[in-house]
């Protein structure tokens, strides 16, 4: 196998904590092409025939395995559209780490749009981590538009944690989930935008199954002249529990809109939404300054803690 270059290592470690080639199942995609892949006895990865992308197939009862599917882009002017389908077998328990790191060296737009579909089998448990990061030497824009489709079968559980920390100029994230009986969905989104960046998220969750539950939480920081929009819609269509929360810090001229919506379509649906937007509380700054931090350091620590 060809060793990873310094740039590849840096992007991979930022988005997936990988500095060497992983040992389990993985698929590394670089600049629109497969770079390396490995499969295991329980996890198969197959390229799609009709379009760009892969099928990740996890056998039933697979326990404690991890799949890494990072995407890195190191060229300017590249638009990459991929379809990744995850088939998680019954009773499996796996960790999936995805992410996209863009190093855009030029002046044109580099774009990665991933469409991920999860089919979570009965009583299966998935933890899905997705990190987005962009950097560049030129003035080229880094654009990421991820779409996630989630279907959770009876008793299944999916926990999705998405982080977009830096350097992504424009992103529109769409997540649609449908839950059957006793299925659970937990989403934690962390976004920080700066400069003139724009980030928009749309979460739609259909709680169709009896005793299904969803917990959608977004924490975000909008700095400089950046703008964020948070949309969430939870439909309680059966006896279920739904909770959606947007908590945002605005700084400088940053702006945030939060549009949470909950629909109780069944008398036994119990739904909550919360949204809070504001600048850093003055007393928090004063407290940290009284411990010897400068105002700027205090601000950084408060933001880092908030997005931790």
């Amino acid at each position: 196998m060809k060793p990873l270059s310094a740039l590849e290592k840096q992007l991979l470690s930022t988005i997936a904590d990988i500095e060497t080639i992983p040992t389990g199942a993985f698929n590394i995609r670089e600049d629109g092409k497969l770079k390396q892949r490995n499969t295991t006895a329980n996890i198969d990865i197959v390229s799609k025939q009709d379009k760009q992308g892969i099928d990740i197939i996890v056998k039933p009862n697979t326990k404690n395995e991890r799949v890494d599917i990072p995407v890195i882009i190191t060229k300017t002017g590249l638009t990459d559209l991929v379809y990744n389908d995850f088939y998680i077998g019954e009773n499996a328990d796996v960790l999936i780490v995805a992410g996209c790191g863009i190093h855009n060296p030029g002046c044109q737009t580099a774009q990665h749009d991933g469409i991920h579909t999860f089919h979570v089998g009965k009583n299966a448990k998935v933890k899905y981590l997705e990190r987005h990061y962009g950097e560049g030497d030129g003035n080229g824009e880094n654009v990421l538009n991820p779409t996630t489709v989630i279907e959770i079968d009876e008793g299944g559980y999916l926990e999705m944690e998405t982080t977009q920390i830096k350097g992504v100029d424009s992103t529109v994230r769409v997540t649609n989930a449908v839950l059957k009986d006793k299925a659970t969905l937990v989403i934690r989104e962390k976004v920080m935008t700066h400069g003139k960046q724009f980030a928009e998220t749309h979460f739609t969750v259909d709680l169709n199954g009896e005793d299904s539950s969803a917990h959608v939480v977004s924490r975000s920081v909008a700095k400089d002249d950046s703008h964020q929009v948070f949309n969430s819609l939870v439909n309680g269509n059966n006896k279920c529990n739904g909770h959606t929360e947007c908590d945002a810090i605005i700084m400088n001229n940053g702006t945030v809109s939060a549009i949470p919506r909950i629909n109780a379509n069944c008398v036994d649906a119990s739904l909550i939404h919360e949204a809070a937007i504001g600048k850093i509380a003055g007393e928090q700054l004063v407290k940290l300054m009284s411990l010897g931090l400068t105002e700027k350091q205090a601000e950084e620590e408060i933001v880092n803690g908030f997005l931790k």
Partner: protein, 241 residues
């Protein structure tokens, strides 16, 4: 060590200007000084003026001979003043160990952090990684605030009503913490308190009432007149209320 010279503070309120601190001067060199007096008398305002959180309208503040009147909160922290808030601040995401690390000015060993937490009666293992957020009770926050101030090991530690909100914790422990701070940390303490047991172990008590100093001396000298005053105050409040 600390000198306030003709310090006044006028607050702008909806009903016009209100003089909160009226030409107050004092010098503290003692290891353990208590500020006491009726609520609303100006004690907390004085403490905040010392930390730099409130800027006085006029007057000067000196610390170890240096004029600190125009120094920021951060600068005052760096030259050795620390402040424990009456109502500790809550954060989202910042943990107990983060706060104690900031206070110590370095990354402390877990064992060191645990030691500070144990001093204030918290079972350290349960708290090290807890977020300093709304899930903590007022009493827990208060103890963490005191542990943080201990970790600073400052020349002058100002505590704004440390006893408030820690009803379940025995005062003996609180007093032991202050005795330790005084004897082992080498710093001086300025404590705002209403608690007789804390006042009794002070080297000096300064009584602040209606924005002015109305009493100053050793506990034995001040306590009797103080309790007469306080009883009257309580009676007044009772009649008015």
């Amino acid at each position: 060590m600390l000198e306030l010279k003709n310090v006044s503070y006028v607050a702008q309120t909806e009903n016009g200007d209100k003089e909160i601190i009226k030409d107050v001067s004092f010098t503290i060199n003692e290891k353990f000084t208590c500020l006491t007096g009726p609520n609303g008398g100006g004690k907390s305002t004085l403490a905040k003026i010392i930390m730099g959180i409130i800027t006085p309208t006029s007057g000067k503040i000196y610390f170890d001979g240096q004029d600190i009147t125009n120094l920021s909160i951060t600068e005052r922290a760096k030259i050795g003043i620390s402040f424990a808030f009456q109502q500790p601040v809550r954060f989202k995401g910042i943990t107990v160990s983060d706060l104690i690390n900031y206070a110590g000015g370095r990354k402390l060993k877990v064992s060191e952090i645990c030691e500070y937490l144990s001093e204030v009666g918290l079972c350290a293992r349960e708290y090290v990684n807890r977020e300093v957020n709304a899930s903590l009770s007022g009493g827990e926050l208060k103890r963490i605030e005191i542990a943080t101030t201990m970790a600073r090991g400052a020349k002058l530690s100002v505590f704004d009503e440390p006893e408030a909100g820690i009803d379940l914790w025995s005062f003996t422990s609180l007093i032991k913490v202050f005795e330790k701070l005084r004897d082992k940390m080498g710093g001086s303490l300025l404590i705002i308190s209403h608690q007789e047991r804390i006042l009794n172990i002070a080297d000096r008590i300064i009584v602040v009432s209606n924005g002015q100093i109305t009493g100053d001396g050793k506990p034995s000298e001040v306590m009797n007149s103080l309790f007469l005053q306080r009883n009257c105050k309580v009676l007044d409040e009772g009649v008015n209320g």
